[in-house]
Amino acid sequence: MYKKTRYLTAGDKAIVLEFGNEISKELNLAVRKMHYCISKKNIQGIKEIVPTYRSLIIYYNPQKVKHADLIQKLKELENTVTEIILPLAHVTEIPVLYGGEYGPDLEFVAQHNQLSTEEVVKIHCEKEYFIYMLGFLPGFVYLGGMSEKIITPRLEKPRLKVIGGSVGIAGGQTGIYPINSPGGWQIIGRIPIKLFDQKKESPFLLKSGDYLKFYPINQKEFKEIEKKFEEDNYKCKVGPYGRI
C-alpha cells in the first residue's frame, strides 16, 4: 500500500485513485472506505465510481465540475476516511452442483492435487470468499481466499463456450461465469441461479466488499432451485459476515 494515494489522469473524464499495487484485503479496505465516503458525499459532477482490487476510477463530467476542484474535494475527503466505519459485510450462500456434466473438470482438479473429488468439493465449500470487485462481464466477481490445496492451472485450450453459471478454478482463483462466454477455467460445477438477471428488479446478486460461500447440492435440488429462481421465488441465504 502506498504511503500517499496516487491521483492519476485517465483521459479528460476520469481520475484514478490508486492506493497501492498489490492484491490484499488491507489495501482493498482502503479502496472501499474511500468509495463509501465519496458515495455518501454526493459530489457534484461525479457520474460513476468503479472500485477495483487496488483503485477507484472516478468518472466525472468536466462540464459540471472543474478537475482541480474535484481533486481538492477528494483529497479533503481522504483526510476524513480513517474515521469511517463501513457497514457490516454479508455472506451469500451459493448452491453448486459439482461434477458430472456440469463440472467436467472436477476429476482433473482432483487428480492434479492428488485428492478425491469429494475432498475438492469439501475444500471449495469451506471458505468464505471475499468479493474484491466485479468486472470483465456483467456480474462477474473477483474472489479472494481460495485454498492452495486445489490450485489448478487453466485449460491448455480454452473452451469456445462456457455455460453461464459455471463455477471454475484458474490457478489460485475461483469464480463463476455469469453468462455464456469463451473461457479457459477448469469447470468444477454449476449454480442453478443467475448472478446477473435482467428480469429481476435488482439484477445483480452480489456486490464488492461482501463474501460468498458455496455449498453442494444434488441434481434434484438443482432443478428445484433453478425453477424457483425462474419464477422469482428463490432467495439465497444471506447472513452477516463472521456469524454463520
Binding site: A10, D12, K47, Y53, R54, F136, P138, K207
Partner: protein, 345 residues
C-alpha cells in the same frame, strides 16, 4: 406505434442510445453509440432529446419498410441512403410515409451511420438505457442485432412533424471523415510503464486499424510499443478511449462495448472530442496519436459542447417527389447522365 419493418438486415444493425451508466461497478459495460456526436445531432435535428435511441448501422445493407408517417434523420457515415430508391440527404429531417422504403446502399465515407426517428426507437429501458449489448444479450431489440421481419416501434414525437421537416445541419457543422487521422490523447494512467523508446514510437508513428476491431475495441498494428518491464497490471478501470498495450506491444483502443476493468497497462486515453472521429474509422485506415494536456482537452470539450448547444439548423423547403418516379444513371461516351422517368396517371 409500429414505425418500421426490417425488409433486409445488414451485418450488424443495433439499437443504441448514449449508453448505460451507473452499473460498471457490477461489471456492466457502458455500450452506447460509437459516434455519440452523430446520434446527438441526429436527435436534435428531429427535436428529440439527445439521448433517444436510434439504429447504429455499421455496414450498408439494411432496408426498412416505413409503417407510419413520421420524420427521420440519417447522421454519421454516408452509406448512400435512399428513400424509395431516390438518393436521400443525410443530416436532414426527412418525411417518410407508410409503405416507403429506406435503404443503405454503399459506403461513401465513415463506418457508422445512424438512423434517428422523431420520438425515438421505442424498446424497453434496461438499467436506464436502451443500448444493445450483444455479448450479454441485453437491451435494444431482444439484445441482438436487427433481423428480417423485425418490427421496430417508435415513441411519440416531442414536436409537430411539420415543424421539423426540412431542418438540416449547416455544412460547417457536418464532420468530415478521413481515412487517416490525427487523434489527440492524454498520456496515462500507466504511461510510466513504457520505455522512452516505446512512448516515442507511440507518438511518432502511424498505426493501422486491423480487421480484428469491433465495438469493444480497435486493435492497431504498427511499430512495437516497448514497456519497461512488462505491461501486466493489477486489474483496474477502463475508461472510454483508453489505449491498452498488451505484451505484444500493439495498442488496443477501448471503445463503447469495452469491459469495465482490465489488466493491461494503458499508455494514453483518446480525448473526448476525438472519440467520434476515431469511431468512424475502419480497418485499413491509419491513425497518428498526438499528445495534448488535460487543460487543452477540457477546453476543446467545452467549446464543442457550447457549439452543440447553440446549433442552428437551416430549413429546406422540401420538394416532395411522388414515389412513382424512377431514376436511371446512364453512361454514354464517357459521360454520365441522370434520367428521371415519371409514370403518367
Amino acid at each position: 406505434m409500429e414505425g418500421f419493418k426490417v425488409t433486409k438486415s445488414g451485418i450488424f444493425d443495433i439499437i443504441q442510445d448514449l449508453g448505460r451508466y451507473g452499473y460498471q461497478q457490477f461489471g456492466m459495460p457502458v455500450s452506447g453509440a460509437m459516434d455519440s456526436y452523430a446520434l446527438r445531432i441526429g436527435n436534435r435535428i428531429l427535436g428529440n432529446k439527445e439521448n433517444e435511441a436510434g439504429i447504429e448501422i455499421s455496414s450498408p445493407g439494411l432496408i426498412l419498410e416505413v409503417l407510419c408517417r413520421t420524420v427521420i434523420a440519417i447522421a454519421g457515415a454516408d452509406f448512400d441512403p435512399a428513400i424509395n430508391n431516390l438518393p436521400a440527404p443525410i443530416w436532414e429531417a426527412l418525411e417518410v410515409k407508410r409503405g416507403d422504403s429506406i435503404s443503405f446502399n454503399q459506403i461513401k465515407n465513415g463506418s457508422r451511420s445512424y438512423l434517428l426517428v422523431m420520438g425515438g426507437i421505442n424498446v424497453p429501458c434496461l438499467l436506464g438505457s436502451k443500448s444493445t449489448y450483444v455479448r450479454a444479450k441485453i437491451g435494444g431489440l431482444k439484445g441482438r442485432p436487427l433481423k428480417r421481419s423485425d418490427i421496430i416501434h417508435i415513441g411519440n414525437p416531442e414536436k409537430k412533424l411539420q415543424d421539423v421537416i426540412g431542418r438540416k445541419v449547416a455544412s460547417i457543422d457536418i464532420p468530415d471523415y478521413h481515412k487517416d487521422n490525427e487523434i489527440r490523447v492524454i498520456l496515462g494512467p500507466q504511461d510510466d510503464y513504457f520505455s522512452e523508446n516505446g512512448l516515442s514510437a507511440f507518438l511518432n508513428s502511424f498505426y493501422e486499424i486491423t480487421a480484428n476491431s469491433d465495438r469493444m475495441g480497435y486493435r492497431l498494428k504498427g511499430p512495437k510499443i516497448k514497456s519497461k518491464s512488462g505491461s501486466d497490471i493489477i486489474t483496474d478501470g477502463i475508461p472510454l478511449g483508453s489505449i491498452q498495450v498488451p505484451r505484444n506491444g500493439m495498442p488496443i483502443v477501448m471503445l463503447a462495448d469495452r469491459q469495465t476493468t482490465g489488466g493491461y497497462a494503458k499508455i494514453a486515453t483518446v480525448i473526448s472530442v476525438d472519440i467520434d472521429k476515431f469511431a468512424q474509422m475502419k480497418p485499413g485506415n491509419r491513425v497518428k496519436f498526438k499528445k495534448v494536456n488535460l487543460e487543452e482537452a477540457h477546453q476543446l470539450l467545452h467549446e464543442r459542447e457550447k457549439k452543440i448547444n447553440n446549433l442552428q439548423f437551416e430549413k429546406r423547403t422540401i420538394e416532395i417527389k411522388p414515389a412513382n418516379i424512377r431514376i436511371f444513371k446512364v453512361r454514354i461516351k464517357e459521360k454520365n447522365y441522370r434520367i428521371e422517368v415519371e409514370e403518367i396517371q
